[in-house]
């Protein structure tokens, strides 16, 4: 499978501060790829390197088989980095016309700008000056600008910021339809619930390092656990019996166990004379999985540092 995005040991340091630390990444075509991480994890720096806006301190990256930043490679890339910025004295349509003039001619028949404005939900506001746009409208205009050249790869950085719930739902449908047409969408976001609904694959970044990469479903399942609901009087005994599986209290009448085999948990409790009310396989949301992963990594890093 040809990679649409490939990073090898990508590192970026700003005046001694490491923003990205040896990132290796491989993104295949025709999927929606989620790029997750807390603020300062290095997500935007990665996107900027892929677009040639920032030069890496070390490592290499390729986009559509060409070195990152190669002007010919950029022709097939649509991008929206952070909050999109436009020329406020121009209308939305004129902004896109100016951006279109700044690069190679637009593909397809005439009227491409009108079509992408309509697709982004800005058809009615296209001839208003951008200085009067709300943040959500600017996001939509940014999306229209990114789609204007019929790209094979879309790089989107927090694209749903400022959008209303209806806009986010439309946006989700749009991204899925783009992926259905074979366009690769590389989506950096902190809205984990959104990522969970849109993305096929996810990579998690923390402190400039890749923590985990895999299918969204697999990532959440890997963190599945069993939740045991029992009589408060049995709480302490249950924690002791389930200690080998890193059991922890979840309120006065429940215990969480990092194990996916409910039968084994029930058996262990029964052998100790504790009979639970419920044993439920609990599949946490991606958000929780993501936070757990980050905490785990932080703990490992702290332990390494203290040695």
């Amino acid at each position: 499978m040809t990679s649409v995005i490939r990073c090898e040991g990508l590192t970026k340091r700003y005046r001694g501060v490491t923003a990205l630390d040896g990132l290796d990444l491989d993104v295949g075509p025709g999927q929606v790829f989620g790029f997750l991480g807390p603020n300062g994890a290095g997500k935007t720096t990665t996107l900027r390197i892929l677009l040639g806006l920032v030069t890496p301190t070390a490592g290499r990256a390729w986009v559509n088989g060409r070195p990152a930043g190669d002007p010919d490679g950029l022709a097939g890339v649509g991008a929206m980095i952070e909050e999109p910025a436009f020329y406020p004295w121009l209308t939305g349509r004129r902004n896109l016309e100016v951006l279109a003039l700044s690069g190679p001619p637009l593909p397809g028949p005439a009227g491409q700008i009108g079509r992408v404005l309509a697709a982004a939900g800005l058809g009615a506001a296209a001839d208003r000056k951008v200085k009067g746009y709300s943040q959500g409208m600017r996001q939509r205009l940014g999306l229209a600008a990114a789609l204007m050249r019929d790209p094979s790869l879309l790089l989107l950085d927090e694209p749903a910021n400022g959008m209303d719930p209806a806009g986010i739902a439309e946006f989700r449908t749009l991204l899925r339809s783009l992926a259905g047409r074979g366009i690769t969408v590389f989506l950096s976001s902190h809205l984990l619930a959104e990522v969970e609904q849109i993305c096929d694959q996810v990579a998690v970044l923390r402190s400039g390092r890749l923590v985990e990469q895999g299918p969204v479903a697999g990532l959440a399942t890997a963190r599945a656990r069993v939740r045991v609901v029992l009589d408060p009087a049995d709480h302490r005994a249950a924690l002791a019996l389930l200690a080998p599986w890193a059991a922890r209290p979840d309120g006065p009448d429940a215990v969480l166990v990092d194990w996916t085999d409910g039968q084994a948990v029930t058996r262990a409790l029964g052998q100790g004379g504790v009979w639970p009310h419920q044993v439920v396989l609990d599949r946490p949301a991606l958000e929780e999985a993501f936070l757990t992963m980050i905490e785990d990594t932080a703990a490992v890093n702290d332990a390494t540092a203290s040695r």
Binding site: R48, L51, G52, L53, V54, T55, G69, D70, P71, L74, V77, A79, I81, E82, E83, P84, A85, F86, Y87, P88, W89, L90, R94, E97, V98, L99, A100, L101, S102, G103, P105, A145
Partner: protein
């Protein structure tokens, strides 16, 4: 050409129109003041030279020298109404406009435009959008430079148009004599000065471009460009140091009168009055120096911008 078209489209903004209107108004006010000054000076000039004794100048060679100088000054004052009338004639007003814009007022206007048009791409965080559309950074720089240079030419056009429209009216209101030159001569004078101003505007534009890639912001670009221009004039004003500076190259290339010789009823420039008198480097040296500045400035700007991180 597509990129230049895009840059020119961005320049169609209220600020550019405001700067052009301000340039036109400045030229108009200067013309009105110049007409008034010329008439007042001519009316106030003595009809006959006072004697050396009356001015307490010793007789002999010193008196002769004083009389010669006073006679020349009187002739200049008496000729000023006709001279100003000639400067304000529609065909010749291009020379006046070129001189004003290729000097300090134009430099400051270009500093403002450079800040908004080039530095503003960083301040407004639009540089990332621009470079995402067009990854060849040197082409972006050249398009920025050329569009800024064209905006400078637009300022000359605005000033010329204002003078051409208002000049004859001002001349009539001030009762100035009719211009003593033909339209063809006026056009030739304007053509020559405007052509020379093109190189000076390119120097101002390159300084603005360089300031933008170094400071990466609108305010920094305006301050650095204006500061660089003022520093050029300050260095040229230093006794003995002004022989070969960019400011003297501008004065030589434009043919500006040296030192206070440029202070007349209607000044043809706001540049050489700040430069000490002395042997100018000459037009060829001026041209070579200015052309070298443009090439070197563009090369340095490209070198800085080529690998600069766009992080805003």
């Amino acid at each position: 050409m597509r990129l230049l078209h895009a840059e020119l489209a961005k320049l169609a903004r209220p600020l550019s129109l405001g700067v052009a209107a301000a340039a036109a108004l400045f030229c108009l006010l200067l013309a009105a003041g110049g007409s008034h000054n010329a008439v007042l000076a001519a009316q106030g000039a003595p009809r006959h030279l006072p004697s050396c004794a009356a001015e307490q100048v010793p007789a002999g060679p010193q008196c002769s020298r004083w009389q010669a100088a006073a006679r020349a000054r009187l002739r200049q004052i008496q000729a000023e109404p006709a001279q100003v009338s000639g400067q304000l004639a529609p065909a010749a007003a291009g020379a006046e406009a070129a001189g004003l814009i290729a000097s300090l007022p134009g430099a400051l206007a270009i500093a403002l435009l450079a800040g908004a048009h080039i530095g503003g791409e960083w301040s407004g965080r639009t540089m990332k959008s621009l470079l995402t559309q067009h990854g060849r950074r040197w082409q972006v720089l050249v398009a920025k430079l050329v569009s800024l240079w064209l905006a400078g030419i637009g300022l000359i056009a605005a000033c010329w148009a204002a003078l051409a429209l208002a000049g004859p009216v001002l001349a009539r209101l001030s009762h100035l004599p009719g211009p003593d030159q033909t339209v063809a001569h006026g056009l030739s004078l304007s053509g020559s000065q405007v052509a020379r101003a093109l190189l000076v505007l390119a120097v101002f534009a390159v300084i603005g471009l360089l300031a933008a890639v170094i400071t990466r912001g609108a305010v920094g670009t305006i301050a650095a460009t204006a500061g660089a221009i003022l520093a050029m004039l300050a260095v040229a004003a230093l006794p003995g140091a002004g022989r070969w500076t960019p400011a003297t190259w501008v004065a030589s290339w434009m043919g500006f009168p040296a030192g206070l010789g440029s202070v007349t009823a209607l000044p043809a420039n706001f540049w050489s009055r700040f430069i000490g008198t002395g042997a100018p480097p000459g037009q060829v040296a001026g041209f070579a120096g200015l052309a070298g500045l443009v090439v070197a400035g563009l090369a340095v700007a490209e070198r800085i911008f080529r690998r600069a991180d766009i992080s805003g």
